[in-house]
Structure formats: C-alpha cells, structure tokens
Symmetry: C2
Subunit: 152 residues, 2 copies
DNA sequence: AGGGAATAGTTTAACTTTCAACCATGTTCG
DNA sequence: CGAACATGGTTGAAAGTTAAACTATTCCCT
C-alpha cells in the first residue's frame, strides 16, 4: 500500500471538467432523444450500429460489442425494440445458437428522424462549442483511452 | 425542417471516439469502485461532494446540484448510504422543510480508501494515457460544454 | 466417436433509476 | 389575513440495468 500519486491541480481540474461536462452532456442528449423520439441512448446506439452493418443486420454478440453493452442488457433492449417494431430477431441457420438482429424499415425510418435532431444537439452542445484544435485533441485523447481499455 | 448540418468526417471521428472511449472508461471506473469498495459512482460522487463542503454537510438540494442528480435519485441513494452508515440526515432548524446531509466519520474513512484506488484507476486509464497538451484541451473542451449546458 | 470446455443467447431476481404524485413549509401579493 | 403558488424533500410504482443461473449448440482434443 504505497502512497497514491494524487493528481496535480491541473490534472484534477481537467478530469473534473470532463466528468461534470460529460454528465451534463449525456443528460441533455438523453432527454432530447427520449422526449422527441421515444428512444433511450442505448436504443439509439443499437439502431445506429445496425444501420451501419451490411444488410442492416448483426449477430447479437457483435451488436453487443459494437454498442458496448452486455449481452444481457442487449437481450432486454432488443426485446423492447422488437415489440416497438424497430428491430427483428431471427435464428441463424448456420449456427443454431445464434440470432440475427435486423433493423426493420420502420426502425430505419425512426433512426433517420432521430439522427437529424441528434446531430443538431451534438453540434449545439458539443462540436460547435469546442475549438476545432481542442476537438481533435479530444478525439486523440479518447482514442488513447479506448485503446488502453481494450488491451487491459 | 431544413437539411441538418451533418458532421464532417473528422468531427464524426472525434465525436465517436469520445463516445466509445468514455463509455468504456465509465464502465471500468464503475466496476473498480463497486468491486473494491462497494460503491457506485453516484454514491462515490455524493461522498466526494460532501467531503468538500464546509462541515462536510450540505442541504439535499445543493448536494443534488453538485452531484448532478435528481432530488428523487438523491433521496433514494442517501437512504442507501445512510443505512450503510456513511451518511446521516438531520432536519434543518431554520427551514423546517430542509434536510442536512452529513458525511459520517465512517463515510469519510470509506471515501479516503476508495479515493486512493480511484485515483490510480483514473491515472491508469485516463490521465497517464493522454498527452498532457491533449489533456488540457479536454479540460477546456468540457468546460465549454458545461458552460453551454448551464446557460441553456 | 464422445466427454469436457467454450460460446451464444435468454431468463430470472435483485437492484437502481425515473416519473409522477404527494406532503409540508415558506413566500407573495391582492 | 389568507389564497395561490413556489420550494424542499420523500415516496411508491414502473421501467431499465445488472448479475448469476440456465439451455442449447459448437468446438476441441484424445
């Protein structure tokens, strides 16, 4: 149990700024998506990842990885999305354990509508308020964080 | 309904990097705090804010604001923390509607222990993997985000 | 071939968060 | 004064998330 290396004043300030800012940002984006399109962020994320996949469909495990969700959570969320008609699940013929999750036309239409508002919110509260140089730095910073998290 | 101003490739990349990285980071920090100290991030946050307050106590509303939580959520979380003996609530004599939330000695001790590990995690997965210049930029960026969020 | 381990996904129960309703006190203003 | 409204906080039910157990299938190895 050695003495911890505390953050210096600057690191402390930057870390805290990130925490406070990102919590608020998440809140705003969350509320926007929910009130205007009835979607939670995790639901939105699932639709996005599906929309980017070939044939707009993915295996559950891959979708879980892309959307950074646990399998359990994905199962629950997909059940909800399926009951709303935005997504459809089918058995995979080649691997009988597997399940494909497909974005329905309604799901795609909902996503398109939501994305329009979403991008505006992201601009208004994130992209447009950050200096372009700083934004690039944010990109590099979190890419590094992700990399570190991945290979741990 | 005008055409939305979509993000350009660079903005898209940076935004996505932030989303993916921060989700993973949150996950890691969350798990660390929970498994090693039995605290959720929101509980930890409450203890931190209390520890910084004069007399280590705050009115519920102020605490809610500092910790970016809804009043309802704070009530529930404080009830849990209180039953763990980390926090104590007392009526405010001057405003009979009010309630003071105070960090107990056990609460402070728990926080101190948790903070030691927490700072290590924050270093390992955030501060130490980010270039110092980029870290400063992250600080500026999210300060701007917070400011924008506040006055909206 | 076939036993054991790994993988895919779902389910159940426990827990946490949100939402709306609620009670009590304080404030404002005709 | 006192009626209406605002503020501080809690509560209970509904919704969402997590953790662990479970089923089914596939992979690996001798």
């Amino acid at each position: 149990m050695s003495e911890p290396r505390w953050l210096d004043a600057t690191q402390q300030r930057d870390w805290r700024a990130y925490i406070d800012g990102s919590v608020r940002l998440t809140e705003i984006i969350d509320r926007d998506l929910k009130t205007r399109h009835g979607l939670s962020v995790s639901e939105y994320e699932i639709l996005v990842r599906l929309s980017e996949a070939p044939g707009r469909r993915l295996r559950m495990a891959e979708l879980a990885a892309n959307a950074s969700q646990s399998r359990s959570r994905l199962s629950h969320t997909c059940a909800r999305l399926e009951s709303k008609g935005l997504v459809q699940r089918d058995n995979c013929p080649s691997d009988k354990r597997g399940v494909f999750c497909t974005l329905t036309p309604e799901g795609f239409a909902t996503l398109e509508r939501a994305a329009r508002d979403h991008v505006e919110t992201v601009r208004e509260f994130f992209v447009d308020v950050i200096d372009p140089g700083d934004l690039a730095a944010v990109g590099r910073a979190f890419a590094a964080v992700l990399k570190r998290a991945e290979d741990s």
